[in-house]
């Protein structure tokens, strides 16, 4: 037997300890997904001023986690499958955040002409930099 087969035997022993979920769990997850969908539609229709996007994303993430854990059996399958899924999610978040950091912190006139991005809620001194926008009368700029 090769070394690979030895690894394989180790995995075989470990896998005998796994448990499998039955229809009861599937029905519960299905019910939770249906309810969460109606909740997100309801809160979405309210058009909340602040935090609507965060709320919608949290509900979607909970629903996604339920699907991945129970329908896709990540809850009962240990090891590599989980690592692959978590790694892919990590890179989705990295790709999203870093492009948003770029677009969000750019010198505003460098964005498309008609763009109307949200202003930062707090005025930062960095926004009126020496080489950036917001220049006031000579001599009054922050050093």
């Amino acid at each position: 037997m090769s070394a690979m087969a030895n690894e394989s035997f180790k995995e075989d022993r470990e896998m005998r300890q796994e448990h499998h979920s039955g229809p009861g769990k599937y029905i519960a997850v299905w019910g939770a997904l249906m309810v969460l969908t109606l909740v997100t539609v309801f809160t979405g229709k309210m058009h909340i001023e602040t935090g609507a996007l965060a709320l919608a994303l949290v509900i979607a993430s909970v629903k996604g986690a339920l699907v991945a854990l129970y329908f896709m059996h990540l809850a009962e399958h240990q090891g590599a499958s989980r690592v692959v899924f978590i790694t892919s999610m990590l890179f989705v978040v990295l790709m999203l955040l870093f492009t948003l950091f770029d677009i969000g912190t750019r010198f505003r006139p460098a964005l498309p002409n008609a763009a109307t991005p949200q202003e930062w809620p707090v005025e930062t001194r960095g926004q009126s930099g020496r080489y950036g926008g917001g220049l006031k009368a000579p001599g009054t700029n922050p050093k």
Binding site: Y26, G64, V67, F71, H77
Partner: protein, 222 residues
């Protein structure tokens, strides 16, 4: 993986896949197949993530246009489709359960229900698309909807058609995959020893559901 033997097609004889020499047991071989499926699904997740990134950045640039454009979608149809897809995911999960218990008839039933719901999803999507075409709410330069002329509105519909179009393409692929597994179930192939095809097919379907769970609030609920 599924190397067929001479007895494979005989009714009543449970299909038993061969174990390749480098695997200790059938369970380990199935585990390797599942890991391969997860690697494929990871690439699918990152494929859709590209569209999510485009969405996030353009929504940051044009918040008002995106909010107004999303109100042009039919929320009732979108909600109906979401509930339909979640239910079809549930029946696909049940198919795996029945396959483990060698109840091939129920596997066929569950997958037929899944495929029918997928078809329903596409029919609703057709009505949504045809309405968008009628209103000229089309991607990029083809956008000519007089009701919403804010800059960025055409970008919203570009992203709408790209992401829902790619998703609908995945729905079609999923229907073909599940149809193929259904044919295998009709030949009584599945049992506790052999349910990898059912499990991986339904994993693909769950991914289609997973992507829609994020697309739905993104596009319909701004």
């Amino acid at each position: 993986m599924q190397s067929s033997t001479a007895t494979a097609g005989v009714a009543g004889v449970p299909h038993r896949p061969q174990v390749a020499a480098h695997f200790a047991s059938l369970e380990v071989q199935n585990h390797a197949a599942r890991l391969g499926m997860w690697l494929f699904l990871a690439t699918e997740i990152l494929l859709f993530a590209g569209l999510f990134v485009i969405y996030a950045n353009y929504r940051f640039l044009f918040p008002e246009a995106f909010a107004l454009a999303s109100r042009e979608l039919n929320l009732n149809m979108g909600t109906f489709n979401t509930l339909l897809l979640i239910t079809s995911s549930f029946t696909a999960a049940m198919a795996v359960h029945y396959a483990k218990e060698a109840k091939n008839k129920q596997v066929v039933l569950m997958f037929v229900l899944t495929i029918l719901m997928a078809l329903g999803f596409l029919v609703v999507k057709y009505f949504e698309y045809s309405h968008k075409f009628h209103e000229h709410q089309l991607p990029g330069p083809y956008y000519a909807f007089p009701g919403l002329t804010l800059p960025g509105a055409s970008a919203y519909f570009t992203i709408y058609f790209l992401s829902t179009g790619l998703h609908a393409f995945h729905v079609v692929i999923g229907m073909i995959v599940l149809g193929w597994v259904t044919l295998k179930a009709m030949r009584n192939e599945f049992s506790h020893h052999n349910y990898t095809a059912v499990e991986l097919g339904s994993m693909y379907w769950h991914l289609v559901d997973l992507v829609w769970i994020f697309l739905f609030p993104m596009l319909y609920l701004i």
